[in-house]
């Protein structure tokens, strides 16, 4: 537990010790706001955050891999992984420490969008429950993207390669659930396959949580996704750490 906390603390401090955190936060906050207003945040005349949450998956496809790419690629390139893993820290503790630090960092980024919530509350009477599940869904989705990014970061020493691979993997998982994709594939695939693909997509489960229902299936989708990719990350890292 102590080793996990040591990695967690160091990693979180690491974000703020370099300009990385600030660049990320500014760009994330700008685009999350920009996309919400482009959707007609005010013009819709509805006191909810739907316009904000709707675009988050697309924004996360680029933003989350950019936080995840350095997690292990940098460590392996610089060689500091040798230091880290010769301290009394197991690979699992190190992977989890880094993952949760990055996840908390993304949670901070999400929390900093609070002016949108205040605006909505000031202008009308929004359904607070819906906003809370919206944020919860976003956080779970960020965790899922992050776990994928973590895996690809462990796979390659090169940060650019790990970034591109995880953007592609995340994009596939988001676009698989988009209506346009589903319409297209339903022209040549049987209905069962189409719904299976739909069930594998981030988009489907994220939208379902957006509706304000925390259904067990949706939550466990994200949890399973995170656990699976993190476990894969641990295995890959153990295999490739010294190369």
């Amino acid at each position: 537990m102590n080793s996990f906390l040591a990695v967690f603390k160091r990693e979180l401090k690491g974000y703020f010790a370099t300009p990385l955190a600030y660049v990320f936060l500014v760009i994330f906050l700008f685009f999350s706001g920009y996309l919400a207003f482009k959707e007609g945040f005010y013009e819709m005349r509805q006191a909810d955050m739907a316009a904000f949450f709707r675009n988050l998956p697309l924004l996360f496809v680029f933003m989350v891999p950019s936080t995840a790419m350095r997690l292990w690629a940098e460590e392996r390139k610089v060689g500091s992984i040798e230091l880290l893993l010769t301290l009394p820290i197991t690979i699992t503790q190190a992977v989890l420490g880094k993952f949760f630090a990055a996840w908390l960092f993304l949670a901070i980024a999400l929390a900093l969008t609070f002016p949108m919530v205040i605006t909505v509350c000031y202008l009308g009477n929004p359904d607070i429950g819906l906003i809370i599940t919206g944020y919860l869904g976003s956080l779970l989705m960020a965790g899922g993207f992050l776990a994928i990014g973590c895996f690809f970061s462990a796979l390659s020493k090169n940060q650019v390669i790990s970034f591109v691979l995880s953007v592609v993997a995340c994009a596939i998982l988001v676009f698989a659930g988009m209506p346009t994709t589903l319409n297209y594939i339903s022209t040549f695939l049987p209905a069962g396959m189409v719904s299976a693909i739909e069930g594998m997509s981030f988009q489907t489960h994220f939208e379902s949580i957006q509706r304000g229902v925390l259904w067990f299936g949706d939550v466990s989708y994200f949890v399973l996704l995170i656990v699976g990719w993190i476990a894969a990350c641990t295995i890959v890292l153990d295999e490739r750490k010294a190369r």
Binding site: K13, S80, L87
Partner: protein
Amino acid sequence: MIEVKELRRSFGPVVAVDGISFNVEKGEVLGLLGPNGAGKTTAMRILACFLKPDSGTASVCGHDILQEPTAVKKSLGYLAENVPAYSEMTVGGFLNFVCDAREIKGRARKQALDRVVPSCSIESVYHQTIDTLSKGYKRRVGLAQALIHDPRVLILDEPTDGLDPNQKHDVRKLINKMAKDKCIIISTHILEEVEAVCTRTVIIARGRILVDSTPKDLKEEHQCSLNSVFRKITTTNTGKKAKSA
């Protein structure tokens, strides 16, 4: 305190460590010598539980490296070859992180820092970030990191590489001071260092142990300087390869 049994490790077709065995006791300073690519670093990485051997095993302070890696890591201090550290951290922040990971807290931490910072002479750079340090200072920070928990076993991969003559002298003095109650393995290319600090030398080439002796005996046996002994031993045994190339 260190027992190495038939350790083997290969990377693809290259056999880096080919069945080496040796024991090191408390009070001994073992100098691991060998040409580049002889397998010194690989052997040390296996002992530090960073790499797993393909076959064979080793134990450090009675803990097996395969069965109880965490106990092994706790009882040894390891300085890696290229002295990895987190460049964005300050020296103090970095040492505190190592204390966190090694569960050194409160007063013990203060004592550990008070002991290790002056003995590695890094007081002047304590608040500097690591990427602004020169190679010599980085290496001393690495050494401080390896000594912070006062380990019984030390594994140092080229501890004086990149240091100026004064710093080299200081580090050797530090090693000599610690030698009595610790078990130390150092790898080096610098043969005068072997004479200055080591009580025993193991010369390896192409993953195999060629000689296991003391620097004094080696010199007496071959009647020449350690430099010539090293050249004689490593070139006669790798001679075939050199000629065919």
